[in-house]
Symmetry: none
Subunit: 231 residues, 2 copies
DNA sequence: AAAAAACTTGACGATTTTTTCACGGCCTTG
DNA sequence: CAAGGCCGTGAAAAAATCGTCAAGTTTTTT
């Protein structure tokens, strides 16, 4: 299923960093470590973490600056971790776009609960943000958002595997996808399937989509290589 | 800017309530007061506040129950205010859908900053949601505001879960919602439910809504994937 | 405290989907 | 032109999924 979510920990003190990393990892998240602000920023841009834990007391740049810079290009949820309990700091951080502010010392469970809360917010957002994407070509339309395939306006029923296949091809329209690639993509990397099963599924799909399955219009066979969908 | 935003304060101790109300009002919010859980719930349903400040230590109902009941029908941001610093409480409240947890004593500025943060989240959400007030299709009408379902004008009684299911589907009419998504949405992210329970509920719903449950008109099954409601 | 309603769980047949198997056509190659 | 590889197709076998009923448990109402 979906791969584990990544959390970027920006923290200069090794002990605390390790402590947090342990908590995070033992709860099925992937952890990324940065020991200063610059490193944190670059890891953020390169790895696109799902959440950031940011210590305000960093050696190089001010933690608040890091927050501002992150917010200038990303909406990733940020939880501030700080030893400072001064109200002014909290207010400033929250108003700069931090999603939460937690003061040391804190318990592991509380940290995890606040991580879950922040993730929840961001999932709700991203669920709604995803603008609809479609494949559309000469009467055939695939609405990936609705998981709906229509041909000349008429709804076409595809089974799970058929739909996965068509979407995979449509999302790579114009490109040849090799048998191996497709098999791994649909049946997973460990399945021991040969491409006989692919042939059967393609035949079924063509029967549903193509006017004349013998002379395909949408999905072409590249003999010995794979399949390609019309761009 | 539209009219001022309303904050519902559910707090039994008069002094603290007054303190909070003062803070809130002096910052251009409208304040609503409830001195116990039941009153809070009814004010919540009648006034649709933009945010709720909920004290956990209430005299009548358990504050956690109030939170659960609110979450059963609304996504309004809830900030828990509590004297109890026990981690278990915080974790439970956050996992029940609270958006933040702040411990007494707290400064006015921090409270306000956390209110702004919670509002920010909810504004982002509601901007995107642009929710329809009603679903209406061929005799079936769902009034989300009134929580009322009518078929050919006749009122249909749906249980809590049934209603949540139908409105979730209706709000995403046309889209296929996967079993996992639905389960997480209705039973929460931690429930260990398989979709057997979904099947039963769908059968019950169809018995109430569909003329011929064997050939559904409103709610379709996408085998292996999920359900979809007629757009 | 009893009764009713709502919710959950397990089992089973019917249907759909997925996989496997067998065969025939087409193209390339020797 | 015969052989061999590759692909499409039809049909049958195997597996998975779905709707439904019935029984058990919990919650809410009376």
């Amino acid at each position: 299923m979906a791969s584990r979510q990544t959390i970027l920990i920006i923290e200069d003190e090794k002990n605390i960093g390790n402590y947090i990393e342990t908590i995070v990892i033992s709860n099925q998240y992937k952890a990324l470590r940065a020991k200063n602000g610059m490193e944190g920023l670059s890891l953020c841009t390169s790895h696109h973490p799902d959440l950031i834990l940011l210590d305000l007391g960093l050696p190089d740049v001010d933690g608040m600056d890091v927050l501002k810079r992150i917010r200038s290009f990303s909406h990733v949820p940020v939880i501030i971790i700080s030893a400072r309990t001064q109200e002014r700091e909290k207010v400033e951080a929250l108003d700069q776009g931090a999603d939460d502010y937690i003061t040391k010392p804190f318990g592991s469970e509380e940290l995890l609960a606040r991580i879950r809360t922040a993730m929840r917010h961001s999932v709700q957002l991203s669920n709604l943000m995803t603008q609809e994407q479609k494949y559309s070509k000469a009467g055939l339309e695939i609405d990936f958002d609705k998981r709906l395939v229509t041909l000349e306006g008429k709804e076409i029923h595809l089974t799970q595997i058929e739909y996965k296949l068509v979407s995979l091809l449509a999302k790579n329209a114009g490109k040849v996808l090799t048998y191996d690639f497709i098999l791994k993509e649909i049946w997973g990397p460990f399945a021991d399937t040969d491409n006989q099963i692919l042939r059967v599924n393609m035949a079924n799909i063509r029967r549903k989509l193509e006017k004349n399955p013998a002379e395909p219009f949408y999905i072409f066979t590249e003999i010995g290589v794979g399949y390609r969908m019309k761009e």
